[in-house]
């Protein structure tokens, strides 16, 4: 039985709480980034780029039976780790469920405060793009 969105978020919060230092949390994000499912080169197109990120971030999706499946990539590995968290939580969920989610686990793990302001903006752009796609497909 697949985890619910809440279970998945709690698992991430628990994982992050294992590390005290942010350097260790980065290490964890880097691991996640390295393990993110390969993203096809031909989908690294201008229209899939998320605007407002310091590094380049591509987001692709498809809808099956009302569920949205995300795939994403970045040329920066920590960003890729962050994407991996988002894809892990939201990919394969019902559009309505994503659209109504508060994305609060991002705050719970302190991610925003521990990114440079430009990176934090990039993170917001990623979240907004995911939400907008969900709304469009509700």
């Amino acid at each position: 039985m697949a985890e619910t969105i809440e279970e998945k978020k709690q698992q991430i919060i628990d994982d992050f709480s294992m590390y005290d230092a942010w350097l260790d949390k980065y290490e964890y994000l880097i691991e996640l980034g390295k393990n993110l499912e390969a993203y096809p080169e031909e989908k690294k197109t201008e229209d899939r780029l998320i605007k407002g990120c310091q590094s380049r971030v591509w987001l692709d999706y498809n809808v099956q039976d009302g569920k949205i499946f995300f795939a994403a990539d970045s040329d920066a590995i920590i960003t890729k780790g962050i994407i991996s968290l988002l894809v892990g939580v939201y990919s394969g969920r019902a559009a309505g469920e994503i659209a109504s989610d508060d994305f609060g686990f991002i705050d719970a793990i302190g991610l925003k405060e521990n990114l440079s302001p430009t990176r934090a903006n990039g993170l917001l752009s990623m979240i907004n793009t995911i939400k907008a796609l969900a709304l469009k497909n509700c």
Binding site: W22, L23, Y26, T79, L115, R119
Partner: protein, 407 residues
């Protein structure tokens, strides 16, 4: 003077970030300020705050004296022929915009050309692009080679009878190589073309003598030279400044104002419209003193050792690609931009930050140069004489650790 004595003059250097000692290696973006600069700011706010050139009262006289004596200090520092050739602006960017607007208005026509270097900061590209757009003029580029040297052998042929100005940086904020501006100026003058030098980085690292260089314009910012933010300088040869129309208008820059027409004041007021940054401008005086102090032989020797250590460490690591490889070591300042194979500059900067090391990452306001080297950005460590060998060693250790985490 020892480096630790110098450091004591800069309280910000004692800071810690995330519980670790701050290693501030982003001096090319802005330097830290010595106590003397902050004290001057306080003096000019609490002891000399009145509008200058305007009122009869005592405080206005003191404020005017603080402001105008700063002009003398700058004239002396860059060895300009006269104080009227020193215009206060808000920084390098405004200085260049002033020239592009005003010199451009007077001298640039349709079909004319402006030449800029390939390694210029956006501040020495975009104002010229806008001017060319307004006038129907053409922007031409003097290229750099793979090592980062300006190809000045190409300059003489690039300059035509339609070239109105060459605008070039003394030291690129990415490559950290001292350009042979004196030679560039000689070549350009031989073809009858004036030269603007972007001295934002140059003023910090070199003794600048504008008469010896024979440059027509020289622009720099206070904040990279240990002074307060929001102030900068445009040096211009009197013969040009006198022929150029005002850049902005209003305030004390006038001669007489009538609805039938206005005449303008003499240099330098003609180019200083509105209330100037009267509080911060006097901080250039202690800042200049501080810059001179840093030329102390003991400090200079230490700074050179740190620079050479970093150059070796960065060029001997096969994973690292350094941009700006000097033919002669003395032409390289302690500014190192590089990329690391398989590691993104943003990731590196983020990890270094958590180790207490402040470096710059990204395009560094030189997007054409990033394209030239085929990268989306770089990492840059830029040092001042108050940075220590210990910090440099810590930076290299931290960088290696960051690379290992990422690759």
């Amino acid at each position: 003077m020892r480096v630790d004595e110098l450091r004591n003059m800069f309280p910000a250097l004692a800071a810690s970030v995330y519980g670790k000692p701050l290693v501030y290696f982003d001096n090319a973006a802005t330097s830290q300020r010595p106590r003397s600069v902050v004290e001057m700011l306080e003096t000019s706010i609490y002891g000399a705050n009145a509008n200058i050139h305007r009122a009869a009262h005592h405080l206005a006289a003191v404020a005017t004296e603080e402001y105008e004596s700063t002009r003398d200090a700058v004239r002396d520092f860059i060895h300009a022929a006269s104080r009227e050739e020193i215009i206060f602006t808000k920084g390098t960017t405004e200085s260049i915009n002033l020239v592009s607007a005003s010199f451009g208005e007077a001298f640039v026509r349709e079909g004319d050309e402006i030449i800029v270097g390939e390694a210029e900061h956006h501040s020495n590209i975009v104002p010229w692009q806008l001017l060319c757009g307004r006038k129907g003029a053409k922007l031409k580029v003097l290229p750099v080679d793979d090592a980062g040297h300006l190809q000045i052998s190409a300059l003489a042929d690039l300059i035509t009878s339609r070239t109105r100005l060459v605008a070039v940086t003394q030291i690129s904020n990415v490559l950290g190589i001292v350009n042979p501006v004196k030679e560039i100026i000689a070549i350009s003058h031989a073809k009858g073309c004036p030269v603007l030098v972007d001295g934002a980085q140059g003023i910090v690292h070199d003794v600048v003598d504008v008469q010896d260089l024979d440059c027509d314009f020289y622009a720099f910012s206070g904040h990279k030279l240990y002074a307060a933010t929001g102030i900068g300088v445009l040096y211009g040869k009197r013969k040009w400044l006198e022929q150029m129309p005002p850049y902005q208008a209003g305030g004390e820059m006038i001669g007489t104002v009538k609805f039938s027409g206005t005449t303008f004041g003499p240099l330098p007021q003609k180019f200083e419209a509105g209330t100037q940054n009267i509080n911060a401008t006097p901080t250039l005086k202690p800042a200049i003193e501080c810059a001179k102090l840093m030329r102390d032989p003991e400090l200079a020797a230490e700074h050179k050792a740190v620079r050479e250590y970093l150059y070796k460490a960065l060029t001997s690591d096969p994973r690292i690609r350094l941009y700006g490889l000097p033919q002669r070591m003395e032409d390289k300042i302690a500014l190192f931009s590089f990329s690391v194979e398989k590691a993104h500059h943003e990731d590196l900067a983020l990890i270094l930050d958590k180790m207490g090391v402040a470096v710059r990452s990204g395009q560094m306001c030189a997007e054409p140069l990033m394209g030239r080297f085929g990268v989306t950005g770089m990492l840059r460590a830029s040092l001042a004489p108050y940075n220590t060998m210990q910090e440099a060693e810590f930076f290299i250790r931290s960088l290696r650790k960051a690379i290992e985490m990422l690759v």
